[in-house]
Symmetry: C2
């Protein structure tokens, strides 16, 4: 029996008939809701049923006026922070979310949901379709706007008709901006970090290389790999390697790895098996992602990134931004090579041009795009001041 033909004996216990993604992690505090209605996608297609997975932090006030929505980035999920003893595993924005932190769980009710198309509980390509099989590449093309629509339906389910603040970085920042444009009456303030107003040709190019790497993997099988024990982990790993380069910077990689070899200065450099530290690091990151993320989700979400263009559907970026009713804080990471800071300045300039309250903070950092997941302490003072102003209604 070929290793690729070894099918999984049965759908494992932890997939209650909903997902075929084998690394789905049923977190203790994960909540899930099946939306009552199908979602009308930006493409015009009615799509459903849709389940949304989400986590909440803090308590919803009786007036339901203390909600902060935190959309996640490409490979993120609903676990932006730990839940104390109930789920102590740190989340991807841990230092910002918790008691006394910027997004203070003693004051605010924080909602973080897995995006449409995701692989950690919300309906995505690994979910079983009404046909009884996982969607695979039959999943519809989705957009940032569609992710936001699903979040809005989640809020509706929770009886929330307005949020104090939406805050996110990268793909989370795109959702933040889309929220402020599409549902301006529902958003009290927005913080968009390391995000552009539209995806550039270069960022589309990087994503396409990642998708091609996945599709090159023979175990990808046109997206129908779920019933096999081997999936396109290697291809997703290569996609991740490319991504990791774009999330860092030349300077941070030089500092972290330089030209050091894994085997040290006495390594045999004339042996192809000898690795530079940077190579070993990228391989490690590739393997790591492939153990927690679904390759088809990577394809669909990067496509959503590529299609992101805030002005689309409104005629122009300015026309879209005209709709915004809330103050917007825009954060740029000085060494970001994925969404360089001129793109954040362009956004702020456009907001200012149409008379909106926008402020721009550029963080001098050599961490590149990933700065928004690293430079917590340096971002904190500006973020805290903004959040306090928002909470006090100033």
């Amino acid at each position: 029996m070929n290793r690729t033909e070894r099918k999984l004996a049965a759908v494992p216990d932890w997939t209650p008939g909903e997902t075929a993604f084998k690394y789905f992690k049923a977190r203790p505090m994960l909540k899930r809701v099946r939306l009552a209605r199908p979602v009308r996608l930006e493409s015009g297609r009615e799509f459903g049923p849709v389940t949304v997975a989400y986590e909440t932090y803090g308590r919803l006030s009786p007036a339901k006026d203390n909600v902060i929505l935190i959309p996640h980035a490409l490979t993120g999920d609903s676990h932006c922070a730990s839940h104390g003893p109930d789920d102590p595993e740190e989340g991807w924005w841990e230092p910002l979310v918790g008691p006394g932190r910027v997004f203070d769980t003693e004051r605010f009710f924080i909602i973080c949901s897995n995006v449409l198309g995701g692989c950690q509980g919300t309906t995505g390509p690994a979910s079983y379709s009404p046909s009884g099989k996982p969607y695979g590449m039959r999943f519809p093309v989705i957009t940032i706007r569609d992710m936001v629509r699903v979040q809005r339906m989640l809020l509706e389910h929770l009886g929330i008709d307005r949020v104090l603040l939406v805050a996110g970085g990268s793909m989370g920042g795109m959702q933040t901006l889309q929220w402020a444009v599409d549902y301006p009456e529902m958003v009290g303030a927005a913080i968009a970090i390391a995000t552009p107003a539209r995806a550039s040709a270069q960022s589309i190019a990087y994503n396409e290389v990642g998708r091609q790497a996945i599709m090159l993997d023979p175990y990808w099988r046109g997206g129908d790999y779920y019933r096999y024990s081997e999936g396109p982990e290697a291809g997703l790993g290569v996609a991740r390697m490319i991504g990791m380069i774009t999330y860092q910077s030349d300077a941070s990689m030089a500092r972290k790895f330089g030209r050091r070899l894994m085997e040290g200065p006495r390594a045999d450099i004339y042996d192809l098996a000898t690795q530079f530290e940077v190579e070993s690091y990228l391989h490690y990151q590739g393997r790591k992602l492939a153990k927690r993320f679904d390759a088809n989700t990577y394809i669909y979400l990067t496509r959503a990134l590529d299609l992101f263009d805030l002005g689309a559907g409104y005629g122009s970026l300015e026309a879209a931004l005209e709709r915004v009713q809330c103050p917007v804080m825009v954060y740029g990471m000085s060494s970001d090579i994925l969404y360089p800071t001129y793109q954040q300045r362009e956004l702020v300039d456009a907001l200012t041009r149409v008379g909106k309250r926008a402020e721009y903070v550029e963080l001098e950092t050599d961490y590149g795009h990933d700065g928004f997941l690293i430079e917590f302490h340096r971002m904190e003072p500006d973020l805290r001041a903004f959040v306090d102003r928002v909470a006090e209604g100033r």
Copy 2:
């Protein structure tokens, strides 16, 4: 019969028992010499026999004092320019090489050879080893220094013991610098364009992603694909896509492609088959390279790029540069993201620090790294002035 099992019926006519690379192009003016001795590689290994493919332009003066050596970049070959009616196909530095051009074929004798490890006539992974099979991944790891050693043996064969000038860009620039350091008594002047003094972690990272893409291709078969009709063209194509991103710049991609779709503004963006122009362009470039370049050569030459460190073996960069006896002109492309201009300035600063004649010219361009293959007319005045000074012995 599986398409991958369809072996080529026989070694085609144009491979005189030397290469298994099916896209080897036997150019009309290509000369080839089998070196009399094996090459002693930097690794200490004796390697041979080695055949070197080269082209020459102009006439060697009786005193053999008008030689210009032009090493090529990663995917280049010996065809840096056309040969008039004898071979009118344009070369990769066409506007710089020819009668009256910067590298004036009426004054100079220009030698351009395919590098060791290459796939266009010089011994490389696709060459038949003494065992009777193509080397594949049994080819030895080679370095920029090894490429230069082979070029030196070619000069020896031609009875040339000194060159007026070595000039090249990118990997050609690395060879140029290595020439000036390893054989200072043989080099009259050096022009190194868009090249670093050592490969950075980031550039190694990009190369490793390319290699992994090739190895991910099931048709790569551990490097032993030559006898099959299907090779790792798709994997090499993905590697090329990554390369092409790093050869350009965010600005040039924005200008050339923006967010335009292949099918125009009425394209169905909700169809995964719809392509952005930048995606289509990258696919085209990937397919194109795969029809003229060998995937194993790509693996070996990118490894040589990664291993490039001018100071290695001399204790430090300064110690290596102390050896240089000629004036060095260094060119940087302002928007180069592969070898950013701080790397060229670092090189020039180090040369200056050890008292060498070095000049730095930075070209303001948004073409990125590829500027050295595009911005001919803007580079020409400085190049011409330098070459004239060199030719006049000033």
